[in-house]
């Protein structure tokens, strides 16, 4: 969202001075991201909610150490992932099947023929299932870049690694995802309006 980092900087500065309303505005804006990032790690809603809430509380108390002007989003992601890792449970495996079913039912393919739409849904559900089989770090780096739209600089901050290694880690994660896909997989014509 254009202009958001400026809003963040102002809100963070106010929150640092003890303005709880400013911090609540940050929480309101980022709670969906925090929950979804946590969900990518925990694979279950209750743990993800718990992790997101805990992360916001911890982030608030850590604001004093947060460098003024730095981007809030990747810093928050890092805290969320730490919390989520503490809560990851075996329940994750059970959610995979439910997720596949959900993707298969999801709509949004109205511009396609029924056959193409069905094929796209099948492909997406297979993609979700394959992502779930990846290592957590690979899944997270792919999600940061391609689901949550973090820039390379933001990913470096969120992953706590040098910026130079983000690209190679992303590339390796893509490679492992590709290797984990069924060998006879075929790209369907997707309905998304992505570039290229």
């Amino acid at each position: 969202m254009e202009g958001r980092p400026l809003d963040d900087i102002a809100l963070v500065e106010r929150a640092k001075k003890g303005d709880v309303n400013a911090y609540e505005a940050l929480v309101q804006h980022y709670q969906e991201l925090a929950f979804r990032v946590a969900y990518q790690v925990t694979g279950n809603a209750a743990d993800a909610e718990d992790a997101a809430q805990e992360a916001f509380v911890n982030a608030y108390y850590a604001l004093g150490r947060f460098r003024s002007g730095a981007p809030f989003k990747p810093w928050l992601c890092r805290i969320v992932v730490n919390e989520a890792r503490n809560r990851r449970t075996s329940a994750q495996r059970r959610t995979v099947l439910a997720e596949r079913a959900l993707v298969a039912q999801s709509s949004g393919d109205s511009a396609q023929s029924p056959e193409d739409a069905a094929e796209a849904r099948e492909f997406r559900s297979m993609l979700v299932a394959t992502l779930q089989r990846l290592k957590q770090d690979d899944r997270l780096i792919l999600a940061y870049r391609l689901f949550f739209d973090l820039s390379e600089a933001e990913m470096a901050e969120a992953l706590n690694c040098p910026r130079g290694t983000v690209k190679s880690r992303l590339s390796r994660a893509l490679e492992r995802l590709r290797a984990a896909l069924p060998s006879d997989i075929r790209m369907p014509s997707l309905a998304g309006e992505h570039d290229g």
Binding site: Q53, V57, Y61, V103, V128, R178, M187
Partner: protein
Amino acid sequence: MADPRRITDVELEGALRDLGPRYPYPPTPNVASRVRLRITAQPVARPHRFELWRNPRRLALVAAALLVLLGAAALANPTSRDAIAHFFHVRGVIVSRQPSPLPSLSPGTPLDLGRRTTMADAQSAVKFKIAVPADLGEPDAVYVVSGIPGGEVALAYSPRPGIPLVKQTGLGVLVTEFRGDLNPGFMGKSLGPGTTLQETSVNGDPGWWIAGEPHVMYVEVGGQGQTVTLRMAANTLIWEHAGVTYRIESGLSKADAFRIASSLP
């Protein structure tokens, strides 16, 4: 007709971008109000006792805690005094050993540190000179409890390089100070087999170093066990100086905790 050619990076990235907005996340819960509740000043006298009865594990812990508190009464008996006086080495704190592993409480258990305030206000609310460890500098947050004799202050420090996050507190270091001489049964610590307890001396004053597995800590406010706060606590150095009991909870080593303690004025 299946196309056996390799999927390119661009195609795979495109497929993931396409999947992003359709990913089957559960609905996002609204955590904002709960976060706000937790970060704003909260009175110590929370109605925990009502929640406790609905949670058998906590109830069991409270029962154990109260048993320990009752143990204090045994001090009046000269024959038992020697046997358990060891556990009352620091005024204001009762330490007990549990033979079996303790059930674990959620790390998110409220800390009940009291009302968040400024250092100046906290100083005016307590009846002792608040000591700030020079090694840590000014705290990130100050809390005060004025409902106990002499008051209690908590200095909260966020994690930072060299000071790891403590899961149990969500902080880097937590320093609490209260008049142990006026509150003999204020704080209790229940240690399981995985927690070590060392009698020690801090700047010549008696103290404890409690480390290893997190231990259960409980605070009784208002006397007669009216409110009991229970939570898991990390490595703790606790000692008493001139009637004030100091407590430093962190994920730090004994040497680092002692360095902080020595830097108190």
